[in-house]
Amino acid sequence: MDLGKLETDNTGRCRLNSPVPSVCRKEPCVLGVDEAGRGPVLGPMVYAICYCPLSRLADLEALKVADSKTLTESERDRLFAKMEEDGDFVGWALDVLSPNLISTSMLGRVKYNLNSLSHDTATGLVQFAMDQGVKVAQVFVDTVGLPETYQERLQQRFPSIEVTVKAKADALYPVVSAASICAKVARDQAVKNWKFVEKLKDLDTDYGSGYPNDPKTKAWLRKHVEPVFGFPQFVRFSWRTAQSILEKEAEDVMWEDLSTGDQEGLGRITSYFRESPRNRPRLSHRYFQERGLESATSL
């Protein structure tokens, strides 16, 4: 898979896609949605769609695609190559969500949680296929959360499509298996060839699976913690594992929207209103107050 586009900038969201097979613009299609790399504390999360005409579903099954988790890396690579060969009826598209995008979304002033991010990405990919002229008739989606509400939302969003959201859909529907292979191949490749934004010396790339419970991953995180910056952007700062290492091993950082119960405001309001004006220090002119300016009294 050519991830060149991702390598030029891996700080945000990157969309990659195959050409649309012309038959998919003419015949009703079935489309599968799956994700890879949702759980790890390291690297991107990838959302993928894969689609083919309903009339060619048997041909896709004949490739013996299966849930990507049951396949070895080389089997996945081989199957993805086969799908590329069958580019006359199989199409795919995927979104690589960088760990930086995940961190900044989840840690935003207005929290954008991983579920919403996932749902919106899946929806965006289905819409992208439709915008490219794919005649989407059926959509199958794998989910980790409650399928009912997700299905309802998707069905509302795409009323003309028959939507099925199901746990373990990647094992049940070949088109979802195919999507899971696309996602996993992209995620593995992205992690393996990750271009660190930071200029780091002595970078150790032996980070294990990237899952928080992997001792190798944990060791890597501990080794690469930086007291001021925390971690490289390859790490999802919003993960509890990352946060707890930072709490112990990095400097505190105070943000205006995450103040930690200091009572300064309370102190000031009482002194301002209750003390007699005689004792109250004369406030500087509002010109200075509005600009955060005060007379310096010491160096």
Binding site: N100, T104, G108, E251, M254, E256, E290, R291
Partner: protein, 172 residues
Amino acid sequence: MESGDEEGVEKRRVHLRPDTLRSATPATLHLLPCDVPVNRPAPVGSFFTPAIRQGPEGLEVSFRGRSLRGEEVEVPPGLAGYVMVMEEKEEVLVRKQGFPQGSDNDEQQQELLEPPEAALERDFDRVIRASGSFSHFTVWGLETAPGPDAKVRAALTWPSLAAAIHAQVPGD
């Protein structure tokens, strides 16, 4: 500047070495929308600078997993930006001992009032020097650019108003 002596009288002077205003090397400054309550070395050039992107609405970067939007702010005309550091006592002593008893130094001493307590520099004084200079810096906002209403931008208008307030009034 702590109190000059045990009675709390504010005697102490902090001498700014004028020559350091010329020798200061250019410094890169970023004003962050969060407090890191510590003064320490930080690998800004490895972690922060390479991650800055020029986005459609200005500069973009992230810090500790939070998104920042930034913009360059120029130091107002007529002003120069300096980063200053206090010299340690030992450094001051070394400098003093190494001071050439040159003519221009003597001239200065004569310019001053003669009594020793009126000497410009005394043992209990401290020395500060400019280590860096700058003519612009980057102001960062949390998720949104600081924009024209940023307090720091408003503060930068102070020197021009101060000039008007403190200009000598014409005599009678």
